[in-house]
Symmetry: C2
Subunit: 254 residues, 2 copies
């Protein structure tokens, strides 16, 4: 399940509540942190409202471009939960009550409580494979290379665990981060030279301003990322030497 070919992914966050600013999304970062140790490159993310035409267009653009697509949100029992139907439309597949999902959900409720609305949570495109959720029972599903997950972060995270064995792995990206009390503009030339010498690495520079106006509270976090541990080490040492050439020191950070 692990080789050297690139494995890529996109995330599609579905929900009016993210675009209205009512809810701060945390699922994108959680999925990114889940994929990183598997060596899967997260290449793009999109956020769309609870609107079928928008979901269909985004799913179809992303599933053709990347190895995997992970969607979050819109799989509950209410009228605004339209993800199963939208994914069915994107694939041109009928959406039906899945037997395994019906069984799991029926076992969850007391007699008489498993009403028609709750049965809606068992609907998925024909041929889909369920994704288990031990928090609230209601399953997600996989169809083709698309994994349809819940929007509630705790549930989304247990669904990712269920999905893990289905994913192809690749060599993970290793990352070294150095925090330095130097402004970006001072080290930019040296940093670019190091980046040019290591085209297989990605060197990122992120300014921080802890307390605006307070000397020494601002600086730069430098992140060196790549799949070759030895090369990341070499570049990190070059960055360290650059920092020291300005009489500064660096702190290794997560």
């Amino acid at each position: 399940m692990r080789d050297d070919a690139p494995v890529t992914a996109a995330v599609l966050i579905i929900g009016d509540e993210i675009l209205s600013g009512r809810t701060q999304d945390s699922n994108l970062a959680a999925i990114a942190r889940f994929l990183a140790p598997l060596g899967i490159d997260l290449k793009e993310a999109r956020v769309v409202p609870d609107l079928e035409i928008a979901i269909v267009a985004a799913v179809n653009a992303l599933r053709r471009r990347y190895t995997y697509v992970f969607t979050t949100g819109g799989i509950g029992p209410t009228h605004d939960d339209i993800t199963a139907d939208a994914i069915g439309a994107a694939f041109g597949l009928a959406v039906e009550h899945d037997d395994a999902a019906m069984e799991i959900l029926a076992a969850r409720y007391r007699p008489g409580e498993f009403n028609e609305r709750r049965q809606r949570m068992a609907r998925m495109p024909k041929g889909a494979r369920i994704i288990r959720n031990r928090v609230s029972a209601a399953p997600g599903f996989q169809i083709g290379n698309v994994f349809v997950l819940a929007g509630v972060p705790k549930i989304m995270e247990v669904m990712l665990e269920d999905v893990r064995p289905r994913l192809q792995h690749a060599i993970p990206v290793i990352s070294r981060s150095l925090k330095v009390q130097l402004p970006e503009g001072q080290i930019a030339d040296g940093l670019e030279a190091i980046q040019k010498a290591h085209p297989d690495l990605r060197i990122g520079s992120y300014p921080f301003f802890a307390i605006p106006g307070m000397p020494g509270s601002s600086g730069t976090t430098l992140v060196i990322r790549g799949r070759n541990n030895a090369e990341v080490d070499v570049a990190a040492n070059e960055v360290l030497a650059l920092i020291e050439s300005f009489g500064a020191s660096a702190t290794a950070v997560e």
Copy 2:
């Protein structure tokens, strides 16, 4: 500057650090909360890496589809700051040092400190209008309907303030939220009927699980959104009556 025509927007978040999971984005929610009282509908967001081809494709897709596009990230002095060049490429415009930006930046630094790398922060597509930033001086820019903002949240937010007078307004969306200790599956039918009776409103249903397994800690937040205050009130009262028909009560929340 305010009328009844819909005014729409998209957000484009540029940066490897968001897709690697190293940084939790907060700019999308901040822009959403900024646009809401102006009546501007945020319709879509995308996150792309620091890669020109990805930025160009996303900017061109979004700027043709929405009234405004707000980008964040990639406008600093280092090699990974490629947003100005990418936006220039998207518009087919040359990217040059802007006179006003050069003046602002030159005033910020001590003699000899305004080096070539820092001058890069004055580069923008020909014809762009600067966006001022009173935190770190380095300006963003507007070209056509695209507003290019910093990635650092505090700087991004002051840039939005500078942009505010340039934006067309519309009637803002009003929102009422009710928190109720009832599961979604119980109220879904009644809720759908209310949604159908008010097609101009958007009624959202969001389950919460405060303490998994603890009775009474889970429930649903119901959000009624629309531009007509009176109709939002009517629907909110209908939702309240629905909740009370199950012997439950609701708390108004933000």
